[in-house]
Symmetry: C2
Subunit: 355 residues, 2 copies
DNA sequence: ATATCGGTTGTAAACGTTTCCACAGGTCAA
DNA sequence: TTGACCTGTGGAAACGTTTACAACCGATAT
């Protein structure tokens, strides 16, 4: 965190030109293409960023912290952002949210953070979640960590360790949902939504397999529909799911990887003439605002993103004032919100049902 | 936009101390309390902010623009934020969103913007929408405008003129909704939601009165329910509305000031045993994502916040490169999204119905 | 041949700020 | 009274950077 950053003088020496030429090259002044190439190469070698003369005490005094969220649309991250904002304001820090379009690379994020040099940075879901090239992602994260206190929210990615990584156990929601459904008597439970490029999705998928095992549920590869994460994904997933099975092999319950998928599933079920929860129990995930207003209202899992955002900021600010990463080790329980979409217990359980 | 900002030297002269003392006073070094007071007084008088030594070309080169949104929760602003992000990315600018808790004053925003000195600033809904003290709000806006190109989105506030103020006509949605409902034969139309402290709300309320006049609708002060802007506001509004009138005086249609209010209204109507659109037509506003999934799906007005955000950024960037405010004068049509919640035409229109 | 010109470069001076250093003045104990 | 030791202060140097200025180089025009 305290190593000397290279200055324009270092770059000039490395490139064999004057500092004026380096400055012009960086700011788009008129330089010959050969000089520009030399400067760029040298800057790249030294990992130089202009603007470091904004020295530390200033950024400290300014009390800016930066947050990068993987999505603004997603209600989960929206709620988290509110928590982040609230806690930052409470503790006197100003919050700057870097807003990027989908699919921005981690290198871009790192470059921008190093340009701005806030007092600390918060990475939520991004960019550990999806990465084109793990190696450059790793390097970028390292560069950020060297320059400022960093707290990442989300499941850790193998080989990419952050100083502080805080996460609600991403499989817990699956376990709670499966426990609830099995308690109600379901043993044919489908998993709808998600995709293999998203880390949280595969974690939940794996948790699903474990729970299927634990409760001796029906093991059927066709019960897993990784169709995506939006409303259409739910519609598509259900139509494939039910199209692929004879009526008597239909699952009796669906766990949807998020509430949008659950919504799509509910619509498609309705379209196909199946009732929820009569013919199919349904559990969503995220406790999105609209779930309480659906008919039937949706049983879902609250991951408490607001509190999680708050706590991540608190952790970050403690790290900033301590000058070193602080282990916070707060655990986040997900809570099951029972509503109408699972109905009553399935059938009557007799001794024959027991293993 | 180009006046000299006061420097530490000015403050030192004004306070009658050395620049070193000023610097120490600002960064929390050891200074006597009397010096500190002198420095603070001088800084206040001159409106001094440290950090201006980050000279103009840097902020230009970095291509940071800042956006301040009045709310992150509101789906309207969320969509606008996406548009802003997209356009900023497209044109190579980095977008920083200042995230504040509800009710932050305009002075705070101005101070932060002047600290960061981005290449340009975008104010959406905030802080022209609600202001505690119009005079300080005005002064703060002026300070921002002196320091950087500024584009404000939202209805202008009397006495507070921005260099560039871009807005979708906030009354147009009311006019389109009323025209649609009247075309369907309704003449007893209620206005539910909003509150007098929000500028956009009173503009729409006034537009409602005008349209009531134009179409010779029933004029009834109890048809106007300024109960707020969330789901509960809709529930409350409808229960008062219907509680206050004999059955034959019930309105036949409701315009809700936004989709959340419409959702609440729909629920309350359902609870009271009235069907939509059978017993009551309903129009919302904002075309929030969930409206298409309601049963019945909600007729609403799309204000095109995404495009509006894009265009505001385009305008801002043109102003930045031109070095002066650019009039863009793009108009934003709201569009009526006809769905199920208004049903078919009300009754059969005979010659007697005509005025 | 010389003059002119556009493009590229380095030197050095700015910029607004922090920080090192030395000094002035005060307090306190011997 | 002296010496030691604080505290607050200003001068000046340093920081990393941009930029005005002058010099240089090669090419083209006369």
């Amino acid at each position: 965190m305290n190593e000397k950053q290279p200055t324009i003088v270092d770059v000039a020496r490395e490139a064999g030109v004057s500092i004026a030429t380096v400055s012009r090259a960086m700011t788009g002044g008129s330089v010959s293409s050969v000089s520009r190439r030399k400067v760029e190469a040298a800057a790249e070698r030294l990992n130089y960023r202009p603007g470091y003369y904004r020295s530390d005490p200033i950024k400290e005094a300014k009390h800016f912290i930066a947050a990068v969220l993987s999505s603004q649309t997603n209600p989960y991250y929206a709620a988290m952002c509110e928590g982040i904002t609230a806690e930052a304001a409470r503790s006197g820090y100003k919050l700057l949210v870097f807003s990027y379009p989908e699919g921005t690379s981690c290198e871009t994020v790192a470059a921008d953070l190093l340009d701005l040099r806030p007092a600390g940075a918060l990475l939520a879901g991004f960019p550990t979640e999806r990465s084109v090239n793990p190696e450059t992602t790793r390097a970028s994260l390292m560069r950020i960590q060297e320059a400022m206190p960093l707290v990442a929210i989300g499941p850790p990615v193998e080989g990419i360790e952050c100083a502080r990584q805080t996460l609600p156990d991403p499989s817990q929601c699956v376990r709670k949902a499966m426990a609830h459904l099995c308690m109600l008597g379901h043993r044919r439970i489908a998993f709808v939504g998600g995709d293999r490029s998203a880390r949280f999705s595969t974690i939940r998928e794996n948790a699903y397999y474990e729970e299927v095992q634990r409760y001796s549920c029906r093991r059927d590869p066709m019960y897993v529909m990784l169709t995506g994460t939006n409303v259409q994904a739910g519609e598509l997933g259900v139509s494939i799911l039910l199209g692929n099975h004879a009526r008597e092999d239909h699952p009796t319950a669906i766990f949807a990887i998020n509430d949008l998928v659950a919504l799509g599933a509910m619509r498609q079920l309705h379209r196909m003439g199946l009732s929820v929860p009569g013919d199919m129990a349904l559990v969503g995930c995220d406790n999105a605002f609209f779930t309480q207003y659906l008919t039937p209202s949706l049983t879902t899992i609250d991951l408490h993103p607001y509190e999680h955002g708050r706590s991540a900021v608190a952790e970050l600010i403690m790290s900033i004032s301590a000058g070193k990463p602080i282990a916070f080790n707060q655990s986040f329980e997900s809570t099951l919100i029972v509503r109408e979409s699972c109905g009553a217990a399935l059938g009557v359980r007799t001794f024959e049902d027991a293993p």
